[in-house]
Symmetry: C2
């Protein structure tokens, strides 16, 4: 089915007229019932003063390095800080490129971020963004919790595995809980997730650029061949290596936060999160994420979205045609 | 904007595939939090064993007649039991016809329903369906409760003005609470309301035929000139009298409960409510309502729907083109 772009533009306009571009800020965490109403509205909300981490100022570089010791952790490495992003390959072709994942200790990772010590000869950018439930995975909640190792196991006792008011509102446990550590060199390209997302900042700052699902049409999704960064055996440089994985549908707008990159009628919502700030990012909302210059530590809890009712049908519809043209 | 019927059919099919045509039955009233989740799903639910009326078996004909005494109440009178319905006028033209509203005592009304004593010479059908917050109106909840008379004031103390779990889930009081009394001669044509609706049966039975908002396209809405039943001064017969009110957009399907009247892919949900059964009918759901042969008494609580978020945009979109062709 090819939904007409004119129809999608019209819905986008109606949505904007009805909802504006402001977002609500709560001075304290909502009750489960209040949060359930917010989920129904499906608008982003910033929550102040919620502390899902035990003594957040505990997480100094020294503490993190000591706590994890010799444990190797998975780090995304790219030459430009753009993991999971559309990038031009050496042949001029645009690819959706996944990062190289390398294992290192927390200590080595933090030294690299702080002082560029990882591969001193290169400008490789490291980002802890494994996002596979690296703290608590679906199996942890739904299977045998004792049988779910985590690279970050020693940090588990510092954080809440569940956001009580969110779990109670949705009537389920999270699907994944992740820790993210990086700095301004790492950028997350604009995308949407099939999850309700609770995102909290522990150190540094995160800059979100948000668009509602009704603005999907403006992101001009295209189909890109899949590639991955690999390290050259001879030069140790990172290089884009096409893979056999299926092509990836992704937005062709790489800098939606820069004025003029989106159609003039689109009004992205800009949200900055500082330590102690928590963002509720509803299912299907598009987000582009940058970080402060200083080391930025964040956590997120992903919850499966409600599949019954209309939400899922709408989100699919708003993505437009199932067949998108190739990117070039 | 003319949303393509093919697009609407596709959404209708996707919705049906994802949600099926069953509805949930709860053995006891939900908590506010559970109900908030149900509102988010926006699927009809039948709730057993909820008693928003004090001693429902109190409401015998005798009790109702005695309680209301000489108070005159507003009764919809039609020749065919179809108030607010598309009906052919004497000139062959189809009209959207509103009932004649006549005032009578509860005793006279009940006698007419039970024994046809109202206008013995005619077959006029009487239905208590004033649906203007006849028990508790918006002003009652939002203004000065003492300054809101009701034709049914003596019955107020028998019922709950608010459904606690619904008010708490939505964070607001009802917009209107209504009492309905009729029998199988009165039928409500298929329509949808901009309200979340809690509907409970006290006596008799109600037969609902339900369609989700995604099936709007199948109801073939048309534009009908407005008319009202008036009583002839000479013969006392009811006659269709065109009015100057704007044309009314209404479904041209008058018997959606009869097999074969809707397109074959549409699968209406049939729900029968007996005394003690309560239906949650979500905003925008289409409903056609019939009643048992015996006297049927029901109550409903309308709550304003959430206007923020996407629901309202979708409901408008699913109605299709703003300009519908004239009915004939």
């Amino acid at each position: 089915m090819g939904a007409q772009v004119e129809t999608l533009k019209h819905l986008s306009e109606e949505y904007r007229e009805l909802n504006g571009t402001h977002i609500e800020i709560l001075d304290e965490p909502p009750s489960a019932l209040e949060f359930s109403r917010l989920i129904h509205k499906s608008r982003p909300v910033v929550i102040k003063g919620y502390k899902p981490v035990n003594a957040a100022n505990l997480w100094t570089n020294e503490y993190l390095a000591n706590k994890l010791g010799e444990q190797e952790i998975s780090i995304a490495v790219t030459p430009n800080g753009q993991a999971d992003a559309v990038t031009q390959g050496p042949n001029g072709q645009l690819y959706f490129v996944e990062p190289l994942v390398e294992k290192m200790t927390m200590s080595a990772f933090l030294s690299h971020i702080s002082e560029g010590e990882y591969h001193p000869a290169t400008t490789d950018v490291c980002y802890l963004q494994s996002q596979n439930g690296n703290l608590f995975s679906s199996d942890y909640f739904h299977g045998n919790a004792n049988d779910c190792p985590s690279e970050f196991e020693p940090l588990r006792s510092d954080i809440l595995s569940e956001i009580t008011w969110c779990s109670d509102a949705l009537g389920r446990s999270p699907d994944a809980v992740n820790i993210w550590i990086g700095d301004s060199r790492s950028i997350t390209s604009i995308h949407s997730d099939p999850y309700e997302n609770i995102y909290t900042v522990i150190r540094g700052a995160k800059y979100f650029t948000l668009l509602p699902p009704t603005d999907s049409w403006s992101l001009r999704e295209r189909s890109y061949p899949h590639a991955i960064y690999t390290r050259s055996e001879s030069t140790a440089d990172l290089q884009i290596t096409p893979s056999n994985a299926p092509a990836v549908r992704w937005s062709s707008i790489t800098e939606p936060h820069v004025p003029g990159r989106l159609p003039p009628e689109i009004q992205p919502i800009h949200v900055t999160l500082y330590p102690g700030d928590t963002l509720y990012l509803p299912v299907g909302w598009w987000h582009h994420v940058r970080q402060a210059k200083e080391l930025t530590v964040a956590l997120n809890w992903w919850y499966d979205a409600e599949m019954q009712g209309m939400s899922w049908v709408w989100l699919n519809f708003l993505r437009g045609s199932r067949d998108v043209p190739p990117g070039n």
